[in-house]
Amino acid sequence: MPLPVDQELLKRVTPKISEQDKQNIILYYNGYEKYLSEINEELTAKLIDHAVFGDMIKNTPKEIMEENNKISQKLQKEAIFEDKWTEYTEYQIQQGIVYAKIGFSFASWYELISMVRVFMVPYLIKEYGNSQKFLDAMNGMNYFMDVAMGIIAEAYIAEKNDVILKDKEKIRELNLDLEQRIIAAKEHTAELETINNELNAFTYSVSHDLRAPLRAINGYAQILSEDYGVNIDDEGKRLIEIICFNATKMGILIDELLAFSRLGRKEINKTMVNMHDLTKNVIEEYNSASPNHASIKIDKLEEVQADYSLMHQVMFNLVSNAVKYSSKKEKPVVEISSEKKDKEVIYTIKDNGAGFDMKYSDKLFGVFQRLHSQEEFEGIGVGLALVHRIISKHHGKIWAESKVNEGATFHFSLKTA
């Protein structure tokens, strides 16, 4: 495995073996080499059931294991007999890096080496008997293995530290990024506050400044009519009337626009609303402001948690639409009902009026979007947009079905849970 090795580390951990140690290691190695196959067999048999190494053995193809062993043996021999310790050290450093990278616990590796030491003892006795050579071979083995373990340990720690440093750097970068994002978010919030304040000022201005000229247009047209009426023919009077009508209309438009924009900033204040009484009030209000010949039927309506004044607005708009769009029928009928479902209440307003073409239904709740001309039915196109906004604020849904000339049915749902 051609892993790059830090040259500083290599220089630092490459061992310097004394002559005595060399001889001892040779004694050990000769014994090891002689009984190599038996030792490997015993080791494999012991490890196959090991928690960590068992899987490694089972998952590594035999050829690869044998290849690795060959390389390992070659490097060991060259180090021990030819003093090629640098190459051997480099190999062990690479081992250490790999263990660190694959998350091997160092304790497992130490455990393995301890096992080999234990296995070796009987074979060394076999080879050297109870003698000084045996002791020297033991010393050689322990020294050799300690050296190997030392190198692997150093490499393992260096690799882990490297990773830690890299992680720290990453965290630092992420923190910087986060700081920048927070600054951006704060700026954005400040910007939004400014825009909101400007919008409030704008609305305030509109509320006041646009109304005065309209009042003048209306008023002076009226005064003209009053003071000079005798000198004005029917056509002239008609023209004056159109002036007044449009000024009034513009006043309504302004009011509706303001209501719509104000709604966006309004807080919802929920209470238990008696929708039945509320709707009855709405109908009375509507009828006295705009007398009509519609027959409005209300079923018993479910109570619901909602903002009273906003619901009033919703019902008012829906009822006025229902009556307006059925006003051309001989017998306009509006039916209002409700249905309690599992986690919501659904209110329905049905009329038998002009209806609309379902293929334009996605424009139904758009601001200033209309599905009829001014000549057919007058209107601005804000009523349903307002209703939609209110229902959305309550996290409810609103939808409608219709067939042209066969009336329209509007439903809206409000959560109960």
């Binding site: 609305t203 305030y204 509320s207 006041h208 400044d209 109304r211 005065a212 309209l214 009042r215 003048a216 209306n218 008023g219 002076y220 047209a221 009226q222 005064i223 007044c244 000024a247 009034t248 513009m250 006043g251």
Partner: protein
């Protein structure tokens, strides 16, 4: 019959002023209206200063119709001065304005306005409003001495 002014109309919009005066005249409430064109004039009149320094400050009008949005000195400032002075605080002040924005309404009543009326856009409604105001404040309401 004295020359007292009964209605003080403080209005910077000439059209609104003309229409208001016309309506008041039509309802026979015209005799004693004075039209002041901005906040500074209004304060001079009420406190008998400047061009009105020969007025008797204790001769109080029956009602002041006060517009809010005026240049330089605003209606709110005028209201505050009238209502914080013992000599003038009892004069009924009716705020008559285009704005129905809530902060204005709150402030006016906090300062002691007697009434707050939004000028309608539709002329018939405007006529009705002014006529009713005139009748109420000049005839029905009993001002303190």
């Amino acid at each position: 019959m004295s020359n007292e002014v009964e209605i003080v109309l403080v209005e910077d919009n000439m059209n609104d002023a003309e229409m208001t005066i016309r309506i008041l005249k039509k309802n026979c409430l015209n005799n004693k209206i004075i039209h002041l064109k901005d906040g500074a004039e209004a304060l001079d009149y009420v406190f008998a200063e400047g061009e009105f320094s020969d007025r008797n400050i204790l001769e109080k009008p029956k009602v002041i119709f006060l517009d809010l949005k005026m240049p330089r000195i605003s209606g709110i400032q005028v209201l505050e001065r009238i209502k914080s002075d013992d000599r003038t605080k009892k004069i009924p002040v009716v705020v008559l304005t285009s704005s129905n924005e809530d902060p204005d309404i709150q402030t006016c009543f906090d300062l002691g306005a007697n009434s707050y009326v939004v000028k309608p856009v539709q002329f018939e409604m405007f006529i009705k409003a002014v006529a009713e105001l005139g009748i109420y404040w000049l005839i029905l309401n009993q001002p303190p001495k």
